[in-house]
């Protein structure tokens, strides 16, 4: 299977602090890749470098290649807005806009120039359905997004990300603020979404990585220590540092 995203020898610096060291990884299309590691290991920096979310940080610098479908996302002439449309992101805290549910979902398409209300209605419905939220909110689309529960808000944010038809969805600890049931809903949703999207998720929850992903990468102090099939990583990791971390003997 061809990788959707290929990362080659990526170093990342916040000023003089090196946050990623020679990271190389192939992220496979229509699969879920989980990134685990202790706080400060670089996994979020890595995730955010995939759609250039780190660009705005003062003094941040990336060396190496990040290829989306073979094309360098840090190359000349890359439109960052278009990149982020293709590579969407869901954050740790559900962050709906203080707008209606409907307006939250169609926000992206509107910004990209879609004005046809029929098309926007269609986008809202399909996105909310894909995010597994439609049945819960279809009669309340004019209600504020902030009135939803935490789990619903996070699914609203996923619907909002889906509305601009991305190819890759990056999730930065999307369930850490959610209760177990909402967490399981998001995980089930991920299994549905991977049919159409490539998903990369950063998680502190090792059980979540084991449950929800096909591939797992373990980061430590800016290095990708081990990367492989999730079942292998959690049953017979090759590197002692991976073993120490996933069995809770590290840190």
């Amino acid at each position: 299977m061809d990788p959707k995203i290929t990362v080659r020898d990526v170093d990342f610096f916040y000023g003089t602090v090196q946050a990623l060291k020679k990271v190389s990884i192939d992220l496979r299309e229509h699969q879920i890749t989980a990134l685990i590691g202790p706080s400060g290991c670089g996994k979020s920096t890595f995730l955010r470098s995939l759609n250039r979310m780190n660009d705005t940080i003062y003094g941040a610098k990336l060396v190496g290649d990040v290829l989306l479908d073979g094309r360098n996302v840090y190359g000349d002439g890359v439109d960052v807005v278009e990149l982020r449309q293709r590579v969407g992101m869901v954050f740790q805290q559900p962050n709906p806009f203080p707008k209606t549910i409907y307006e939250n979902v169609v926000f992206g398409p509107r910004v990209l120039g879609e004005a046809d209300s029929g098309k926007l209605d269609h986008i809202a419905e399909t996105s909310l359905k894909a995010a597994g939220l439609w049945d819960e909110v279809k009669d309340d689309l004019r209600k504020s997004g902030l009135a939803l529960s935490g789990g619903q808000q996070q699914r609203l944010c996923i619907a909002r990300a889906l509305a601009v038809e991305p190819e890759v969805i990056l999730m930065d600890e999307p369930c850490s603020a959610l209760d177990p049931l909402s967490t399981l809903k998001i995980e089930e949703l991920m299994q549905e979404l991977k049919k159409d999207y490539t998903i990369v998720i950063v998680t502190h929850n090792m059980q979540q990585a084991a449950r929800a992903s096909e591939w797992t990468g373990f980061f430590l102090m800016g290095e990708l220590i081990e990367y492989g099939v999730t079942g292998e990583i959690f049953s017979r990791p090759e590197d002692k540092r991976t073993e120490d971390y996933i069995t809770g003997r590290f840190g």
Binding site: Q207, F234, S235, R236, E243, G248
Partner: protein
Amino acid sequence: MPRQSYDMHLRELQDELLVLSSMVEKAVAWSINALRDRDLDLARQVIADDSKVDGKCIEIEEKAVQLIVTQAPVAGDLRLILSIIHLLDELERIGDHAEGIARIAVMIGDEPPLKPLIDIPRMADKTRDMLKRAMDAFVRRDTAEAIRINAEDDDVDALYDQVYRELLTFMLEDPKTITRATRLIWVAHNLERCADRVTNICERTVYMVTGKIDGLRASNY
């Protein structure tokens, strides 16, 4: 060092497993002593004690399940706990074989002996030695020793062949010995199965350390 109490529980589980294996090893020794010395009380004791072995197995399994549900073990910890659960089965069955030998001892009762027992106690000694060392290799994560012990199953198989051939000769020469000879073949067969169980323990040791489930080498029986 994080997870101290978890580590302590894992150690306790292994300690309990060693207690169980010594109970089982004693059962094998006593069953053969009972047979050799015609000690029916001892034989009945082995039969009665088997329920203690079974109870200990259940106790350890429950503790292992508790560790699984409360600690969500992965990697080496998971392989250790899974291996312990497998070993419980193996040890429990060795205990059953010892009980089987004790029941044969009771069945034989005070019938006149067919012949002095030589190779059968030898099989029992070898099997017990393998069991002790296999458990030691398990707790020390010693795969080289586990592989060595596994190969020693051939010695037990050879003794079994010898016992079988010898008893067959008795039966051919005098059909009146068939009942008594058959009982001794059952005893030898029980011991041969015990040694096979020990090889399974050795295989689990290799799995626990390496994560690879490869049968080391199939027994001839």
